[in-house]
């Protein structure tokens, strides 16, 4: 008995490994949160001086005069907001039906090799760098749009929207497919046994049962489009303008920050104004992602 009692407080290598692993995993887990909070604090701090100082809120949201380098600078971001919104909106218009269709095909119709190949292809599409997409927009879509529609310039809402749509498609397809796959097969079986066709099963059972996941997929796609910078900078024409047709050039919030920040003086009004755009972007994407998250949680609760 004494031998057993003596062994009770033994701490061997496995005990220390376990402790060390726990600490490491904790640091790993917490660091993502710390970094994101850090970025948020930094962006806010850099922009806040301007927000409470030189910023005229009314001008910011209602004027299209973005003249940060003029002798009498004005910071009207309306055109930039509209630019981002129009490009993202057009992108979703093209991308949502395509992505949901692709997800439906992969989840409900494709089998075996076709299914696996398609999934890999979609995931590969997500790995293409955005500057490559921008290049496609400038050197392939640009002349193509000029030729097909007979317009003087092919860089604009149409071009950037299509590129952005293609960029947002993989994430939407993947998330939507996950949502469709999460629908228990017993539902499909029950509906089929009642005499529903494949399409009726999808339309009346699978889509209603996965609608939250599908909505989350779309929202994540919107978030992806909203935050994209390089491709939009290259394909949108980057002209401050309220678009009246899909061929008009626009300028996006993200692209403005990317193209101007390098030329500003640290701490100047221009610098602060760009960070204010950053805060705006951050807030919008945060709200979109949060909504998507809440929506996804909504499914699990049911």
């Amino acid at each position: 008995m004494a031998a057993t009692a003596a062994a009770m407080d033994r701490r061997d290598l496995a005990w220390y490994t376990d402790r060390a692993a726990r600490v490491l995993v904790f640091i790993g887990g917490i660091s993502a949160v710390v970094f994101i909070l850090g970025i948020f604090v930094f962006v806010t701090k850099e922009g806040l001086d301007f927000v409470f100082g030189a910023l005229n809120l009314r001008e910011f949201f209602t004027s299209i005069e973005w003249r940060p380098t003029s002798n009498n600078p004005t910071y009207g971001a309306l055109a930039l907001i509209v630019g981002t919104a129009s490009v993202t909106g057009f992108a979703m218009l093209c991308s949502v039906p395509l992505s949901l269709g692709a997800a439906l095909f992969i989840a409900e119709f494709a089998t075996g090799k076709t299914r696996e190949t398609l999934k890999i292809l979609v995931e590969m599409l997500a790995a293409i760098p955005s500057v490559v997409w921008g290049f496609v927009g400038m050197s392939i879509m640009h002349p193509l749009i000029i030729r097909i529609f007979d317009v003087p310039l092919g860089l604009g809402v149409l071009n950037a929207g299509l590129i952005l749509g293609l960029m947002a498609a993989p994430i939407m397809t993947t998330i939507a497919e996950d949502a469709l796959k999460a629908v228990p097969d017993t539902y499909r079986e029950a509906a089929e046994a009642l005499g529903a066709t494949r399409w009726e099963v999808i339309l009346k059972v699978v889509i209603p049962a996965s609608k939250n996941g599908l909505l989350a997929a779309v929202l994540l796609g919107v978030g992806r489009g909203f935050g994209e910078t390089m491709a939009v900078l290259m394909a949108s024409g980057h002209a401050i303008n309220l678009p009246t047709s899909v061929f008009d050039s626009v300028r996006a919030l993200t692209a403005t920050i990317a193209s101007e920040l390098g030329d500003t003086v640290y701490g100047s009004d221009h610098y602060g104004a760009l960070f204010t755009l950053g805060i705006l972007l951050f807030l919008v994407t945060f709200v979109i992602n949060l909504t998507a998250d809440v929506v996804v949680r909504g499914i699990r609760k049911k």
Binding site: R188, E189, E192, L194, G195
Partner: protein
């Protein structure tokens, strides 16, 4: 001789709701059914018993071709339902399934309201043909739920999700949703296996009430259930039908030693 035992072969063709001839079925390379000849008579309850993996469920699921969802299933032979070869080119699967309702092992109501569950099949089949009025739907809803003795329990929460019901109520609902399209045949795959004894008793009683109006083919692991709730009984073993006859006789004086051994619990 076996007094009063009806040899399935002597009954006239039209008396069968389901009739299989030389039915073989493979899952990939594995053969699950061997040369099955089965005649299920109209208007009575036929139960299928046998040890796990003997092909009862496979045979049941072949009758409405739901087995083909798996994708790697191959069959030879024929299955006639109400006189039509369901593998034939002139038979539409949707119409076959309209005639044959199916109840699954685990209650599987759709994730929609009780009302929509009951009306799901009705809307599918009737809406293809004509406009259905709301009053008609209400009538169908009530009569279906009354037939399964569920109306009084759920009449105040018809628009609540069906998944909130107890398992027993869910299984009754799954039976109720078959009735509005007026099927001839009901296939039941161990409908009580997920239920507690009280639920089992209630659902069995319900199945017994439906006798006569429908031809019922029911798979069960529970021999007491087969004995209580069916008029004819089929004993299957290793993908073959060993014995098929009137339930009481199959249990009292089985012809084959395998049947006797199984009934007496020597294997299973």
């Amino acid at each position: 001789m076996d007094s009063g035992r009806q040899d399935p072969g002597t009954v006239e063709h039209g008396d069968y709701a389901i009739e299989t001839r030389g039915l073989n079925l493979w899952y990939g390379d594995f053969q699950a059914l061997f040369d099955v000849d089965l005649g299920v008579k109209r208007g009575i309850i036929t139960s299928m018993i046998g040890p796990s993996g003997c092909g009862k469920t496979t045979l049941l699921r072949t009758c409405n071709r739901i087995i083909e969802r798996l994708g790697y299933v191959r069959t030879t032979g024929s299955v006639n339902v109400l006189g039509h070869d369901i593998f034939g080119d002139d038979v539409e699967l949707v119409q076959v399934r309209k005639q044959i309702g199916m109840v699954f092992q685990r209650p599987n109501p759709l994730p929609i309201s009780i009302r929509e569950n009951v009306l799901f099949g009705f809307r599918l089949h009737e809406a293809r043909l004509r406009r259905v009025t709301a009053a008609e739907e209400d009538e169908v809803l009530e009569s279906s739920l009354r037939q399964v003795l569920l109306w009084d329990t759920v009449k105040d929460r018809l628009d609540k999700p069906a998944t909130g019901l107890s398992l027993e109520e869910q299984q009754k609902l799954c039976i109720a949703r078959l009735l509005p399209v007026k099927p001839e045949v009901l296939l039941m795959d161990e409908p009580c296996s997920a239920l507690d004894p009280a639920g089992t008793e209630a659902v069995e009683e319900l199945i017994w009430r439906l006798r006569g109006d429908y031809t019922i083919l029911i798979v069960t692991h529970n021999m007491a259930q087969a004995r209580r709730a069916s008029e004819e009984c089929v004993f299957m073993l290793l993908g073959r039908i060993v014995e098929h006859g009137r339930t009481e006789e199959l249990f009292l004086s089985p012809e084959h030693s395998e049947t006797a051994d199984y009934i007496e619990g020597r294997y299973g």
